[in-house]
Amino acid sequence: MSSRYAIPLLAALTLVILVVLGKLLPAWCVFLLVTAFAKGLAALGLVLIIRSGLLSFGQGLFYCAGGYGAGLFMLWGGVHDAALLVLAGGLVALVLGAVIAPLLAGYRSIFFATLTLALSMLAHGALTKADFLGGSDGLNLRPPSFIGFQPANSTESVYALYVFACILVVVFSLACRVHFNSVRGLLSLAVRDNEIRVEYLGSSVRRVISENFTAAAFLGGIGGALNAIAVAHIDPELAFWTTSGEFVFVAILSGYLSVAAVFASSIALEFIRSFSSQYFPNAWQMSLGIFMLASILFLPNGIGGLLQRRKKRMKGNKPA
């Protein structure tokens, strides 16, 4: 089976290209890619949930948990190594996700979406009141080191961060890609298509959903931690519903079949935001909204899979 090696090879090649590309691009662009990668990782997590037929409007909760996890590990724990910080952020989110997941796994559609939204807004509300965590202003972080390497200037720092982000992106993309092709990956789609049949084959739908949600939380935490050390700041806005809204947008725009599309969408969104806030400072939300509408309208294939399956399901499940 050559495909067993094709995917890791492609991943390695992508990593090399990305690392070289980072040397050629201007610093602002490289930095923008880092934040896009951070958000893309969280959106990739959301894709895992979407594959089991649910939409979370609270992925920001884990993005925030990852950010605070990494941030506090740095400020209180005195750890500055990026890899350790990101791991810490991911684990904090993972634990949080594993605790919440069984509670959420019984809910569907809009109730799942609004409950996740509610939990995320709860965290947002609590953090704005938590003065020891900086309240609504949040906390500033210090520059990280990279496995012993301490960047000497900001250019070096941005590039080191970028290479680190690229490694994270490629590793987790590879993991997700292989998972999507696996039987367990198909089982997620099976849950989305027909929960009754999954139960009648002897598998637990709640368990599938819980596992996917927890994995998504982990990815959200990794993304949040990466974002936190990149912008050297954490605040409650990370858990605000608009943050989650962006992940939803990126995940829906990219569809649930392609891993690369998630990062492409995330990069596109970051560029639009960056440009419009620069050129239309009073209307950047509006440009973002118009971009969203346009992409939903003109790129139905980006979100095609999701739409098609609903149509088919409706047609196929009519009682005889």
Binding site: F111, G125, K129
Partner: protein, 298 residues
Amino acid sequence: MQLASTILIDGLIDASWIFIVAVGLTLIFGVLNILNIAHGNFYAIGAYVAANAVGIYYSGSNPPMLGLLAMTGAALAAAIVLGPLLERGLLRFFYHRDEIVLVLVTYALFLILEDATKLIWGVNPYYAYEPYSLFGNVNVGRMNYVGYDFFLIGLAVFIGIVLWLGLNRTRSGKVVLAVIHDREMSSAAGVNVTKIFVIAFTIGVFLAALAGAFTAPKISVQPGLAVMVVLLSFAVVVIGGLGSIEGAAIASLIVGLSRALAIHLAPWAELFIVYLVMAMMLAVRPQGIFAPTALRKI
């Protein structure tokens, strides 16, 4: 005792305007099957146009009481312009898509309207305090309340009754209920679904704008209103059960009272008490208070 009645009355006042917004959201969801994230923007736009209308109306020597009509007219005008424009000009192009996509479309609309509101009315606050003194003051026990607030409660009750009667006791209302119940069936039975969509959406927009218009005298009208309002009405609709007027009424009371409780007893919890209540309610009744759970036929 004093505190209890204060909480109760504050809660009722809060519940009244929340109900007016949320019942519009639940109507749109019930008929069009859209969870409209931009609903709060209609509230905000209603508040702005009412503030403008109040400014103009009270600058002349007009009878003060009729200022309420000017506010209603402003909200109605906003709804008549925005409702058909957005439903026909935007939303209908996405009806054949997944409901998740429709939620995203309204999210995009939310972003667009946020900035559009800022571009039109700027970022400085507007005040429309004149109508707030129309009904004088009312004493309850030793506490002094503004009469206008009780007027708001009356308005909410009035709107609730009119909507309920309109849906359950009129011919066209029953047609709307039929569409809520089974869209394809009603369409096959010759119901003009398109017309009902436009009208229901416009009424939903009007209710949001009306709530904005009538709360405008109580608050400073400024950016950020939409977010707060849409999240509140989301909570109400989810607690009450999607598409249920009775549910929206009871859930508004729950939300209003819990907010009042938080403000008086635990001010730090004001920001998130609603989400806490919502999460707790969903844990007890996953489909909301007024939604029956049905076993899927296999």
